[in-house]
Amino acid sequence: MIPNLSPDIDLATRLFDELRERSFDGVGVTREAFGPGEAMAHAVMRREADALGLEISTDVAMNLYMTLPGADRDAKRVVLGSHLDSVPQGGNFDGAAGVLAGLAAVAGMRRAGFTPARDITVMAIRAEEAGAWFPTSYPGSRASLGRLKPEELAVKRQDNGRTLEAMLLEAGGDSDAIRRGVRVLGPENVAAYLELHIEQGPVLDAEAIPVGIVTGIPGGRRLRKARVLGEYSHSGAVPRRFRRDAAIAAAELAHRLDEFWGALERGGRALVCTFCEMATGPQSGFTKISGEVNFSLDVRSLDPADRDAMFAELHRLVAEISARRGVTFDLGPETSSTASPMDAGVIAALKHSAEALKIPHKVMASGGGHDAAAFAQAGVPAGMVFVRNQNGSHNPREAMRIEDFAAATAVVTHFAATFGT
């Protein structure tokens, strides 16, 4: 480790400003996956990488790779990456911070005349914001890992209805290669994947710690289309004992599941349980007892036992409430995702780097999903560094202090220069 190795934060600051200016939509920033906003961001990164003299390439899904060559070109590389798309009217830092951290790290190495032991590749990933654009998890990074299923090419962008395949071809990608499962990255050529990302939550800010080292990305169990069926009847004319009230059944379920969550938390378990949507059916009215309530439920935890405990309680409550209130629950199909623990060796190395740099840090689970999950699922040792941020994410008020970014990027730089040496 060269003593003066420090990331080029000025470069990152300049690029944050340029990205914001060029993707500002009047409210927040919009960088549509496989649309003009994301393309602009990729072009900016490519220009800067070119100026830094990095090796530039793209893959079948038009992810962008910007490589600082290492001393041993045959050694497995370190990948520093994240995504460049944003939600509509989103914040400037979600995703872009990870790519700019990578560029700042290698720019710092270039500036110091440092040649790493192995290749360090900054990766700008496509189309991560599944909730906003293509409703499938991590299509960009999974394509680079040869793990995007052919049928997923048919998913449609939620705003314009165009398929992932059509938009990917338009951007210069190769859907046939994706169908054949061609992969650019995998455990055979990547020593570690490291993603810096804003926390998106309030924990680091509340605890006054600038940097988080992530233990894993939780898995979830979800009911996207659950409902309670009761019977519509007149609010004034029907006494309680005759009621089959769907609204109060749904409220009771939410209230009691929330209490159960609280009890688990007090017992030291870490999970989140959210009724994301709840709405009475179209026949509802002010003076009607509700006959139908639709809701969605999302339970996430790193430890599968915790979400299983919530779902066991859910099923117990559903049976009890149905019997007592004369309603019927139709929970609909359940979808799930497995948790993606980060690699123990990567976590240990990140802790070592933070300690060497005397940067205060907190070891914590991620709340949301990130491309790092796709790498972990593919067997690549993966890690994540969180940057303290304010006002959450996916909104125009999302904020991040540049000194916190600098602290986290210093950890990234130290890690990239030293991992596996």
């Binding site: 909730g131 926390e199 998106q200 939550g201 309030p202 924990v203 509340a206 939780p218 996207r224 519509y232 009847s233 007149h234 609010s235 004034g236 004319a237 029907v238 006494p239 309680r240 004992r241 005759f242 009230d245 609204a247 109060i248 749904a250 409220a251 009771e252 379920l253 939410a254 209230h255 009691r256 969550w261 609280g262 938390e265 989140v272 959210t274 009724f275 994301c276 949507e277 709840m278 709405a279 009475t280 509802s284 009215g285 002010f286 003076t287 009607k288 007892i289 509700s290 309530v293 969605s296 999302d298 996430r300 991620s366 709340g367 949301g368 999903g369 959450g392 994410s393 996916h394 909104n395």
Partner: protein, 414 residues
Amino acid sequence: MMLFDLDLAERFLARLAAETADSPGVTRDAFGAGEQRAHAIAAELAGSAGLAVMRDFAGNLYATVPGDDAPALVSGSHLDSVRHGGNFDGAAGFAAALAVAAGLARAGTKLPRPFVAMATRAEETVWFPISFCGARAALGRLPAAALDTTRSDTGRTLASHMEDCGADPEAVRAGRLQLDPRSLRAFIEIHIEQGPVLVEADRPIALVPAIAGGPRFRNARIAGSYAHVGSAPLPSRHDAVAAFADVTHGLNELFREFSDAGRHAMATIGVVSTDPEMAAWSKVAGQCRFTLDLRGTDLDALTALRRRLMDLVEEAEATWGVKIDLGEDTGPQPGFLDAAIHARLRAAAAQLGIAAHTMPSGSGHDALAFHHAGVPTGFIFVRSHNGGHNPDEAMDLSDLEPACRLLSHMATTL
């Protein structure tokens, strides 16, 4: 001697069902084609029964049997319905009054006072967001601002709809009085129950001493913050749905206690909705709106429910860091109807051998408008099957018969 014409009531209801059919059920839109048709049928049948028929400036219909020069007994109900509603809600009450008027007229009975069968307008608030439009207009108590409210489906004003129906909104605006409360001895409304109580109690009719009121919040809103579910641990989430669940579940617990104790105070969440544009799986819900309808006739229990609601709102705001705005309380006060009329009805039922139940009404009716205007008011429920406001609503004519008998007795003895 049969002083009511039940066959006429049956013919009236059959023609309504046929001529305002809108499968499933009937639609008689207030100050629209459906209600107009119903009023035309009412006028035609009342006229052919030899009754004097007139309409007032608000489009209400009156069929009068003359009597001695004394304040009149008026009985009636509304002829509009909800969309795809049942045939009996409202119409049954006018059918009974018409049957009694026709029976009295045919028999040539000398009455101590005039008996008036009245068909009101626009009682169902699904059309115009105003309670008891027609009845209140007749009593000179409809605020002029009501004329500018718009019908939920057409978007056109009440004034414009009234003009279509040959009524005179300017007279309403001027506060003209058709029915001077001092000129009325009493108003008695017959209405189907809309609930299951009489079916369970196995009684054809009920005498109703009170009509429920209570706090009503049509536009309650909870404002939290949207956040990614994974990035918002329990202490820091401002979850509007969780706050909603805490408030309504807590309120329901008190409702359960009152209900178990046989006290008349109910709480209903008619509508709850997260924002369909903004709420999505993987997000904590930042907003939620709901309606809350508290009603009953037990004032202490209603007050307790309201107080508990305010406490729960405060607790949920503190727990979840949300802001809860219940909005305007649009609820009417409960109406405790005239005790003397209720006692007369009870005595008459006993004398006539009618097994009448006693129960409060959970929902509002035109009778409340008369009560609030100071007219001594009575109310009678008729057993109905399958509730009200739906196409399956049903009433047996044999259950309307004791109600007619009671009303006819009142007309000749009050």
